[in-house]
């Protein structure tokens, strides 16, 4: 990674109100878990700040954790829950960052990040289509991959059960 200090250090120093729930970094990628309420501010800061310069949104998707996520995280929420992740990359500083946010299964709701990263449009639609995570404020909340009259969200772990019932 080209940065002298990890993103976590920059965030803690310059944007201290953002609470970092957990940090799981390795030699290939820095991975931060944030609170959902800090997500938009964090993404905006990370994109605009010259020391982080995470200007490219590579991916947004989700994982439906139906069994314990203790092997992945130190203090995960009680299962089942969704993990929504964002993969960012800096084209200038040549490094990448993964940000995860935990979302309740009972009310799967996330804010749109299209104001900061316009290419989040289709990625968020895909997440709604396959996981049923509704994106608040999204300009075009339609299914993307599946037909408009399709029932259910197939990448949910409980999809087969609900389909059969």
């Amino acid at each position: 990674m080209s940065l002298e200090t990890p993103v976590e250090t920059v965030l803690r120093k310059r944007f201290s109100r953002i609470q970092i729930v957990e940090s799981l970094s390795n030699e290939h990628e820095e991975h931060l878990v944030l609170r959902q309420r800090h997500l938009l501010d964090a993404l905006d800061f990370l994109q605009k700040d010259p020391d982080t310069h995470l200007n490219l949104l590579v991916d947004i998707s989700a994982v439906h954790h139906h069994e314990s996520a203790k092997g992945l995280y130190a203090n995960p929420p009680q299962t089942p829950f969704f993990e929504v992740f964002y993969v960012l990359r800096s084209t200038r500083l040549k490094y990448r960052l993964r940000i995860s946010v935990f979302v309740s299964e009972e009310e799967p709701l996330m804010p749109t990040v299209t104001a900061t990263f316009p290419n989040a449009n289709w990625l968020e639609r895909e997440m709604w289509d396959l996981f049923g995570i509704f994106i608040e404020g999204h300009p075009d909340m339609r299914r993307l991959l599946l037909p408009k009259d399709f029932t259910g969200h197939p990448l949910r772990k409980d999809y087969e059960e609900s389909f059969q019932s």
Binding site: V58, R96, P118
Partner: protein, 338 residues
């Protein structure tokens, strides 16, 4: 929708800053994916891109005024294969026919299982295979463009095709996208390198030995369809050079008779791999489940970003240029519909 979460979303704020308004306008300009009503002088034309087997994988409606495209609505067709879902239930040793995703999936799987890195000879063999795949992709895109233009250049003379004046006339100045717009649209690969940015993941790839082969990212600065077309020829030349160098280096390595370590179980709960695919960044992320299967497989392809950018790329284009612009983009429809 009432939220039980304490979300400080920008949309909840009553007073918007001038910067937020500008961002909203920019977002609206970039993603005019839904139009409600057309003006009296516009007509709507449903077309499909020129792509072998692509007819029902992508749906495109154009709003046209006179001869100019004033808007476009793009939708992915309904040939979704459910590959990611399928990989959650497939056994480790026979996941699926992954085609273009095979190498990044393999790289991520090796990280997940902490499989020892293969020998240099094996890595070079992988590199040769992937560069051959890249070569073929670029040749297919060039062939589609040549076929559409109806160029009189002999089809086996790449240099003459590259310098063909008819192709140049049809592509120069078309579908121009500057660097910041390309990044906003999530475009990587040739789309970004045609804006002058030397962004090529092969330059920092740790899993394949590009650093031993004097790899140099190819760039141009004109940012239009013709620059991207020319870049394909430069990439073909680079790929052929890499293959030749890799073969020489591979032949210097001792013959490898070790049996690959079988993948038995995961050592890590999560791993990912990224690769510079022919059209840009391809990322495979894997989450392991306890019983040795895959809890989640995520494959993010460059064609996804390319397809979503098509409405923006066609804005202002002449109706005659639409098919050619689409053909020159090199969208892989199989990648799109995984």
């Amino acid at each position: 929708m009432k939220s039980h979460f304490n979300l400080d979303c920008a949309s909840d704020q009553l007073i918007r800053s001038a910067q937020e308004e500008e961002q909203r306008a920019e977002r609206k300009r970039l993603f005019r994916s839904t139009r409600f009503g057309v003006s009296s002088s516009e007509r709507v034309c449903k077309i499909l891109p020129y792509a072998t087997g692509g007819e029902d994988k992508f749906l495109l409606s154009l709003y046209i005024e006179g001869r100019t495209v004033t808007g476009a609505d793009a939708e992915i067709g309904w040939r979704h294969q459910g590959l990611e879902k399928h990989l959650e239930t497939a056994p480790w040793d026979s996941p699926a026919d992954l085609k273009a995703f095979s190498l990044p999936f393999l790289l991520a799987l090796e990280k997940l299982g902490h499989v020892p890195a293969p020998s240099l000879r094996q890595k070079l063999a992988r590199l040769i295979a992937y560069e051959s795949f890249r070569l073929r992709h670029h040749l297919e895109v060039i062939a589609r463009v040549v076929e559409l233009v109806g160029s009189s250049s002999p089809s086996d003379d790449l240099a003459r095709i590259r310098d063909d004046s008819e192709i140049r006339a049809h592509l120069i100045g078309r579908a121009k996208v500057d660097r910041n717009t390309a990044i906003s649209l999530g475009l990587t690969g040739i789309m970004l390198r045609a804006t002058g940015l030397a962004d090529d993941l092969r330059a920092e790839d740790e899993s394949l030995p590009y650093h031993l082969l004097n790899f140099v990212p190819q760039t141009r600065t004109e940012s239009d369809a013709y620059a991207r077309f020319l870049l394909r020829f430069a990439e073909i030349e680079m790929s052929m050079t890499l293959i030749q160098r890799a073969k020489r280096l591979r032949d210097e390595q001792p013959a490898d008779s070790t049996i690959p370590t079988p993948f038995i179980a995961t050592s890590s709960p999560f791993a990912f791999a990224y690769i510079e695919a022919p059209e840009g960044e391809l990322v495979v992320s894997l989450w392991a489940a306890k019983e040795g299967a895959m809890q989640r497989v995520r494959i993010k392809t460059p064609s996804f970003a390319l397809a979503s950018a098509i409405p923006t790329l066609l804005l202002g284009a002449d109706i005659d240029d639409v098919a050619l612009i689409l053909a020159s983009l090199g969208v892989d429809w199989v990648e799109l519909d995984r």
